[in-house]
Symmetry: C3
Subunit: 269 residues, 3 copies
């Protein structure tokens, strides 16, 4: 148990509620509403905009940028690259969610193009997505992983070192690495896998935590522990995915920093 990570998770949550960081998401059509509600519930401020002619202005006002490739089109890719470059100039954190990388060449190629355009503060994906960014030809089944988190660990470590970034692989247990340190987050509940957009929500929460914490590994670990802990609270009140989803939003809103600190299960490797 890495106690100082739990303490930082708690203080980051408090800081998000204090600062209300504006998180600009260029994200997929399936999860937009859920992502916006998750950010609002936790105390951040969401904005979504994808028109090429306005993304730079939106980034200029934002405290963090999420680029999520879950439903691509040519125009959106252009906007993501433009937004990424502007975020780099601004010095605000960018988080990439390579949804479905490995499931189509377009997705794998676009994820890599985004990474080349600007350094990502964190890349969060499932095991198959992370492997596909590292190893040509590796495949993902739609947007679902066919690999375990541990199978993706070497790819994550190599990518983290090569790209000087932090990788967060989510699954039944999450594994995070900045190329040097390796951290596991064991919060969560199986019903999270039955709610569309849980992974994308994790990415957005990471962006909000990055807006208040300079250490990407620590911020991302705390963010995943927070979402996982909200899932645990939700499971106390719900036994099926519809009510669980609603309870999870409620828990993100209601959880105090102190409660988060108690619930965090973040371990060194």
């Amino acid at each position: 148990m890495v106690q100082h990570f739990a303490e930082h998770a708690a203080s980051n949550l408090a800081a998000v509620r204090e600062k209300k960081p504006l998180i600009h998401s260029i994200t997929n059509l399936v999860v937009m509403n859920f992502t916006a509600n998750v950010l609002l519930a936790m105390g951040a401020s969401p904005v979504m905009a994808h028109a090429s002619s306005e993304v730079e202005e939106m980034v200029a006002a934002a405290d963090g940028l999420v680029l999520n490739i879950g439903t691509l089109s040519e125009a959106w890719i252009e906007s993501m690259l433009k937004a990424g470059k502007r975020a780099l100039q601004q010095g605000i954190p960018i988080v990439l969610d390579p949804v479905g990388a490995g499931a189509s060449r377009l997705r794998t190629k676009t994820a890599k193009k985004i990474i080349s355009a600007a350094p990502m503060r964190v890349i969060r994906g499932n095991a198959s997505e992370i492997i596909s960014l590292h190893q040509a030809g590796s495949q993902t089944r739609g947007v679902e992983s066919v690999h375990s988190v541990d199978e993706a660990a070497p790819a994550a470590k190599n990518l983290a070192q090569a790209l000087k970034t932090t990788l967060a692989i989510t699954g039944p247990e999450d594994l995070l690495t900045d190329g040097t340190r390796v951290i596991r987050v064991c919060n969560g509940h199986p019903l999270m896998g039955y709610v569309s957009g849980t992974g994308c929500a994790a990415t957005a929460i990471i962006a909000a935590f990055l807006a208040v914490d300079d250490d990407p590994l620590r911020a991302a670990a705390g963010a995943l522990a927070f979402l996982g802990a909200a899932g645990e609270v939700a499971a106390e009140n719900a036994s099926a995915p519809g009510s669980f989803m609603i309870q999870m939003i409620d828990a993100l809103y209601a959880m105090t920093p102190e409660a988060l600190k108690q619930k965090c299960r973040i371990y060194g490797d």
Copy 2:
């Protein structure tokens, strides 16, 4: 307390449930599902279509049109202008929701272009959005207001007179004006600010009320009181935004005209 406004709110709600007006929304990607569910719950009939080649036919069958600029693209702007012109020919009410006007030039410019293409029956926005339509260079933080409703009151009054329309500024208290009369609606609950798309839902409800009432100020005030009252009912059963959002939909469905009349808190200025 403007008693006849409360009475009209009640009779408008009854009329919506009787007539089931078809509300065509060209709205943003984040709130589409929530908006559709809000319109269905209250007894109206939603349709969404944005293809340039079909918007005119959709408008031809509609009883009201919502134009919401929350996630723009060039193609959608063209469709909004086309739909607006057709609605003008049809004589059906158009409501503009200038989401994020002031946050990017594209949004401010597009809102103004829509207003020029056809007269809006009502324009509903937060304080910063309304100010940005009136005063060049005024800014909005993403889609959140940085001004108070009272700060936006002069802009609203000027715009209402210049454009011969009704302005509805929503916030902790709502302020509406048709350039002559000024009305405040005090219904609502702070949790509404934690649910994505509450403002957009207000706009859609206004459109449904306009479909059954020729007085825009009265229709809009009643619509905002209705949504606010639903929020108050929801807050009796929920203390966090996930369940609150669901309870608000339930309340929009379950509220009787009589209950709405009792709950309305609509005041002259």
Copy 3:
């Protein structure tokens, strides 16, 4: 009561949970999130992708394809045709949801173009939509039916024979025909009409059942009975559309094959 249909509904549900078929949906912007959550809750695996350059790869991995025309654009139509042709080569089932066919020429024409590009395993729509596919000039009010299921029965039978497909008309009672057999499904609850995307969810569930059953009529009837039965369970716990929607997702997750068999109300004509 067609007992063997009820038995197949139950075994199909069990098979979906065992196989977890990957259902690729090119669907409308309003219902994407709800559709994904419905597929996840029932035990299937959703993926959504619409970029012309990736839809074929997504279809290549999929066990079923949903084409839903609820919010069209030129680019999406091209992708639907491409996806349909690839699904035909793959031999995986395609289900068409002609949302709003009859409400605009674009929709009616697009539905027919999709049908010409590849044989549909099932076409599911409301009565007006089905009639519009058969009879030039027939109209739909937005996305709502203005005809009864029985009025659409002759059109459905003719279309089924002409196109060698299965038609499923949904309404208060559902009517299904493969041109020879005619089946009615009497499960469901009036509150389903107050939830956006219930029809689209029905289409997605049909696709999941088709992925495990070679008899389209039987698969579609069981799928509709399943959704209707979930609506009945939801109505035991909810009396308004917000909570009802959540309870319906819960019921799709929690319903056992045995419970489904008991609840099925599938009748021969």
